[in-house]
């Protein structure tokens, strides 16, 4: 729990909006946040499938312009950097966290690790493609003024699904 | 304790007072000071612009004069000259074992004045009678080469009548850089100007290197600003009993 708290703080430092929720209320939270009937570009995972979101959102694995929300489950979270880790190889798997305006990421609390080393020592060779995501897309290329959503999401919302004891 | 003083070429020829003030401070702490008769330059002005042959000539002569084992220490009132000898002589003489031996013999006994005062004599406070508002410029080779960061400021702060006011760009290069200032006068000036503009409400500018002070002082004078450059030893020696 203490680790989770530190992780949340680091995420917030990196400009993420973070909610720690329990498994039971996750779906309700998502519905409230995204809104019933919204189109959602998503990357399937066991957790997401188990939520039964099909009846609530218009889920798709095919992106087209105009889809506002991306939904994916991050494979890990790293306390050190305050970021998420995606293990994804195909274009379809990689894009939900990149193309939409808002990226909603789920992360199971048990997948929070302390540091990069903890992650690499868990992974087997051959490695999958790994993407570290540390906040919303950003630029400061015009007069050093920070602008969010340079090319990728303008917002990164993280729902940490608390461990059940 | 016997010290051989290396006044440095600039002090020797431009500001002899700094040499006498150095002697004054050393004597105050009971040090016996000797000054060689021959002129000497550490050679950095040549070395730094790529003229290593000429630098070697000056460095060889310097070694001849200062390699005198009967003296406990060699002290110089200049961070950059000490840095030159300490860091670069071994590069300069890397193929000359005889000179290398000399360099290595001298290195552990060679100190810049404030370094010598604070690290060898363990001086924390000097009974200087100096009065006025001082700011300090950390010369590059002194700060980053010899690692003299807090010592000069600490000594200045501990002078009872002095008002020490650190400047914002204390650690930024003044733009002198030896022949750099001849090769890139405009740029060199802008660097000095930027530094000068960051000094506020002070009467004196001090440093452990005369070269920087001549550069910044020259710009202050040209700009007509009423800030007087003084070598740090001129401040430390103020009001100390002369022999």
């Amino acid at each position: 729990m203490e680790r989770t708290e530190r992780f949340v703080k680091e995420l917030e430092n990196n400009d993420c909006e973070v909610h720690v929720v329990d498994r039971k209320s996750l779906k309700e939270n998502l519905v409230n946040y995204i809104g019933k009937g919204s189109k959602v570009f998503y990357r399937p995972s066991a957790l997401i499938k188990s939520l039964g979101l099909r009846d609530i959102f218009e889920l798709t694995e095919d992106f087209h312009e105009g889809i506002y929300f991306g939904l994916s489950e991050a494979d890990y979270g790293i306390v050190y950097s305050g970021g998420l880790v995606e293990l994804a190889n195909t274009r379809e798997e990689k894009l939900p966290s990149l193309l939409p305006e808002v990226h909603v990421a789920l992360l199971r609390e048990e997948n929070i690790v302390e540091d990069f080393d903890d992650l690499f020592s868990r992974l087997q060779k051959p490695l999958p493609d790994i993407t570290f995501i540390t906040g919303p897309s950003k630029t400061a290329d015009i007069e050093k003024i920070l602008v969010r959503g340079a090319h990728g999401p303008r917002k990164l919302i993280v729902f940490i699904v608390a461990n059940e004891y | 304790m016997k010290v051989l003083l290396f006044p440095t070429c600039l002090v020797d020829h431009i500001k002899p007072k700094i040499g006498f003030d150095t002697v004054k401070v050393l004597k105050h702490y009971g040090v016996e000071v000797h000054v060689p008769e021959r002129p000497a330059c550490c050679g950095q002005i040549a070395f730094n612009v790529g003229y290593w042959r000429e630098a070697r000539k000056m460095a060889s002569s310097w070694l001849e004069i200062y390699d005198q084992p009967e003296y406990d220490y060699i002290v110089a009132p200049s961070g950059s000259c000490v840095h030159m000898i300490r860091e670069n002589y071994e590069i300069l003489f890397k193929d000359d074992p005889e000179k290398l031996t000399k360099v290595r013999r001298i290195k552990p006994r060679l100190f810049e004045l404030v370094e010598f005062l604070t690290r060898i004599l363990k001086v924390k406070k000097i009974p200087s009678k100096f009065r006025g508002k001082i700011t300090y410029h950390a010369s590059c080779h002194y700060l980053r080469g010899l690692g003299m960061k807090s010592e000069p400021g600490d000594l200045l702060k501990n002078i009872d009548g002095a008002d020490f006011k650190p400047m914002e760009l204390e650690e930024t290069c003044c733009g002198f850089g030896g022949l750099f200032s001849l090769k890139f006068p405009e740029l060199s000036f802008k660097m000095a100007e930027r530094k000068v503009k960051s000094m506020e409400d002070v009467e004196y500018l001090t440093s452990a290197d005369l070269s920087c002070l001549l550069n910044l002082g020259g710009v202050l004078s040209r700009m007509g600003l009423p800030i007087r450059p003084l070598h740090i030893v001129e401040i430390l020696a103020e009001g100390l009993e002369d022999d």
Binding site: P126 | M58, C140, R144, F180, K183, F184, A192, G218
Partner: protein, 459 residues
Amino acid sequence: MIDFRKNADRILKDPVVVNAVQRATLHALKKREETIERIPDFEDLRDRARLAKEKVIGDFENYLKLFKKNATENGFIVHEAGDAEEARNLILKILKAHGARTVVSSKSMTQEEIEINPFLESHGIKKYETDLGEFIVQVAGQRPSHITAPAIHLTRKEIARLFSEKLGMNYTEDPEEITNFARNFLRGKYFKADAGMSGANFLVADTGSFVIVENEGNARMSTTLPGVHIVVTGIEKLIPSIMDLPVFLKILAPSSTGQRQTVYTSIFSRAPEGREIHIVLIDNGRRRMLKDPILREALMCIRCGGCSNVCPIFQLVGGHAYGSVYSGPIGIIWTYAIFGHEVAKELPFASTLCGACREICPVRIDIPRILLELRRRVVEREGGRPGEKILINVWAGLMTEPFLNKIGFRVASKVQTVFKKGDKIKSLPSVLSSWTKFKDLEPLADKTFRELWKERKGS
């Protein structure tokens, strides 16, 4: 030949650029300070990064071989190019094989080094830079002025004018709206592009992976959306192991933009079904550096830009003064090493050797030491500049011969009275005139310290 002095003097006359560069560099430095305060083992990380790079440099060909083998097993198609021309032709061949007409690309210094853009253009292939700063600079027809902030020399007004004139943007000076315009403009390109190009920050030998670090997401797009991806990278980007990567990730962003971590770090370790990923490994002088006992250290550079940010000269004039894709203190060394003596022989002197670069460099490259060596080489090859050579020889004579010293000092202190105004010298003739152009000189003393000392002793 790159004329640093001329470039610098021109830039110094433009207060807008000087201010912008200063603001940007100081901002990054401040953020760096704040960030590393929260990394207690930062010094240790620097040592470890240095060690990892030393390992690579000490056994370079083996690490490269290992990388190539593993990368090939990962499904990447690995190429090697000896020089820029070979690299350009290789890239063109790959693009042609895919019938590519448009290419999207993320930031890569190496691509600029081999001047790929005009080359592709001349073969009818349009390449879009997608990093916002690079895109702005491309539209302006200029060169990046800073390694991590390519467009710092341009104001929002200038960018607004540029975009509305050249790209038809509805005029706005709001950075957010300008960014949005570029976002939408480039979105269209990503989806239509036939190929994507990128650089790489690291090549990992033991896993055959390549790593790209960025903030905007444009590199992720350029490497993911088009059907073929070409990585253009220098061979010096090698690191031994994936277990070394954390160390580098922990020092790179803080030293660079001052962030704890960049927004996106992508580690590519396999080529997906049906998609080609080419890695073009470029030598272009790097092996020559490797064989050079002094220059090889510069190969450790991870291109964080920290040395530029902290350099008091760069802070005033920015990257354009260096006249090369590689700017700032380390850029001088790279430009000399890659583009050669004739092009770069003035550059090594564009430093006061103040050592701030060495102090900040995350892999502890002794930049001033390398600059000193380059100066030595330049003087040796060119025989020195006439005026300068005389000056230094006269000085060396005066400082080593007591008799000359005495006479010379006498004469000079007499002569100087001609130039003295009050207690200062305000102007000098000939070579020395630039010394008095902007400042007053302190005259020589009436007697040397040694003379006075002797007199006092005698009395």
